[in-house]
């Protein structure tokens, strides 16, 4: 691995993955919050809310993330003048990326949680209602906690996909790992395979165990019925 003897490349590699880590963390938080709210909307008794949730899911689940990220930069930022950090251009692009990733991933989180709600036996909600709990209480105290345990595995795969999707933010000028890899391949082309294996291997080494961890967690926390 000659190319790693150049400290610039080590720096490139580390910066790339630190951006991926931050994108994943911030994106996951945003998507989780948005997704839970959307799922609540989709099962609520108010038709307007249901329609809004359904519209969100159908729009963003069927649109390419690349297009969403592209729109965040060239549409929201360049054309409509939405600036999320006026001082630091890298941070501005980072937050635009987080916005795109959250909005897109929230659609999947919403669907996962909604399918989790479907796994809760109707008797649970009926019993809760018989005790006089309101819709919001039924959802918050009885249904969502059980649904949450049922969706750990799907949520895990959504967040793993989010980590991989973070590489797309590189297209709007953030030096995350996909653009770092491209830069390295261009300058150290003779070591292309090694460079690819380093970057791809880092993702694989982190994400494969994460997948198994979520599977194990899902089994452990599953509501035994």
């Amino acid at each position: 691995m000659d190319f790693l003897s150049d400290p610039d490349n080590v720096d490139l590699y580390l910066t790339g993955f630190s951006w991926i880590l931050r994108l994943t963390g911030a994106g996951a938080l945003g998507a989780l919050v948005l997704g839970v709210i959307l799922a609540g909307m989709r099962v609520s008794p108010v038709p307007v809310l249901r329609a809004f949730g359904a519209g969100w899911v159908n729009t963003f689940r069927n649109t390419p993330l690349t297009l969403i990220i592209f729109f965040c930069y060239f549409g929201l930022y360049s054309t409509l003048g939405l600036t999320l950090d006026s001082e630091d251009i890298a941070l501005n692009n980072f937050w635009l990326g987080v916005l795109g990733l959250s909005v897109y991933t929230a659609a999947f989180v919403c669907e996962a949680i909604r399918s989790g709600i479907n796994t809760v036996p109707p008797g649970q909600a009926e019993a809760a209602r018989a005790l006089g709990l309101s819709f919001f209480q039924v959802l918050r105290i009885i249904v969502l906690p059980q649904a949450g345990r049922a969706v750990i595995a799907p949520l895990g795969s959504i967040f793993i996909a989010l980590a991989k999707n973070s590489t797309i933010v590189g297209t709007i000028g953030l030096a995350e790992s996909s653009s770092a890899m491209k830069t390295m391949i261009e300058t150290y082309s003779s070591q292309t395979i090694l460079i690819f294996l380093l970057f791809a291997g880092t993702f694989a080494a982190v994400l494969i165990p994460t997948g198994y961890f979520f599977g194990w967690l899902a089994n452990r926390l599953a509501v035994k019925r």
Binding site: V46, V48, L65, L67, L80, I117, S157, N165, S166
Partner: protein, 304 residues
């Protein structure tokens, strides 16, 4: 459970009034939001006729959008066929009795599922020509190869989970009437697995269609590249172009989902549907099977 009937009661007079109030409040909030977006667009002159007029002209569609759509669809179609093949082959490989087939197939599937598609496409497009001399990599094949390796691996896991979810009696009966393993796989297990996993397969195909948009990054002239990037370079209407192209993507993918729903109902009506391994009748299977739920990591997700 049908959520709408269980999470809340059939509304009585008070609940109905409350729902009306909530509808009015959120409706008004939503309208305010849309009006705010409208104003923001207006502020930047995004409603100017010159930005939207190109979409009424034939040349926009003939020169930009339709060629892009054609490239997107042909890449998606080729990649669909290849990744379904790849998926079946590697699913069978992972279920093999021979460790020297099972282990390499497992490594390949796990690896390509964990690597971001963009890295894969970059490697194939920029990297491979350095590795293999005299190779002229076309953007089309770089995209198709990347899509095949990634989606094929995800589909392999889906098929495998589906095969494992087919009741044991099916393969036992097949062996009982003298079929060989090859035949059991081909005639009994794979068809049932494919049908049981139809929702996962379709959502993966939707992902595949969307992922062709990654081709934009290596200048593959697909819908995002031609319809948004090049088009807006000509007319300076990036917002309008992105909205129109997004609608096209949404229509294609909704059609794909609707088609799958139709096929699903068709097979259900004919009664040739696999009985889902639902030991618990209380759970109307949301996920195809319990086994599938754990093993089909990243169903319906993936790249952009």
């Amino acid at each position: 459970m049908s959520t709408d009937a269980v999470l809340y009661d059939h509304p009585g007079p008070r609940a109905r009034i409350r729902n009306w109030i909530l509808t009015a409040v959120f409706g008004a909030g939503l309208l305010a939001l849309f009006y705010w977006i409208y104003l923001k667009f207006d502020e930047k002159g995004q409603w100017a006729a010159t930005l939207w007029k190109p979409f009424l002209e034939q040349s926009t569609w003939v020169d930009f959008i339709l060629p892009g759509l054609q490239q997107t669809l042909s890449a998606a179609l080729v990649a669909m066929v290849l990744s379904l093949t790849f998926g079946v082959l590697f699913a069978v490989g992972r279920l093999s009795d021979h460790w020297w087939v099972r282990v390499p197939a497992g490594i390949v599937v796990e690896f390509f599922r964990a690597v971001p598609l963009l890295l894969l496409i970059f490697f194939i497009f920029f990297g491979l020509p350095y590795v293999i001399e005299d190779l002229r990599m076309e953007a089309f094949w770089a995209v198709v190869a990347g899509l095949t390796l990634y989606n094929g691996s995800v589909l392999a896991e889906a098929f495998r989970a589906g095969v494992q979810a087919v009741p044991r009696g099916q393969s036992e009966a097949a062996y009982g009437i003298g079929m060989r393993k090859n035949q059991v796989m081909r005639y009994i297990l794979i068809p049932q697995a494919a049908r049981a996993m139809l929702p996962v397969i379709v959502s993966q195909l939707v992902v595949l269609v969307k992922d062709t948009a990654l081709g934009y990054i290596i200048s593959f002239p697909e819908l995002l590249q031609l319809g948004v990037n090049v088009l807006s370079a000509n007319y300076a209407n990036v917002v309008a172009a992105a909205i129109v192209v997004a609608i096209i993507y949404i229509i294609i993918n909704s059609l794909l989902t609707a088609l799958a729903g139709w096929v699903d109902r068709l097979t259900r009506r004919r009664g040739i549907r696999v009985p889902r391994t639902s030991a618990n009748p209380g759970q109307t299977g949301v996920q195809p099977t319990a086994a599938a739920q754990n093993t089909t990591v990243s169903s319906g997700l993936g790249g952009g």
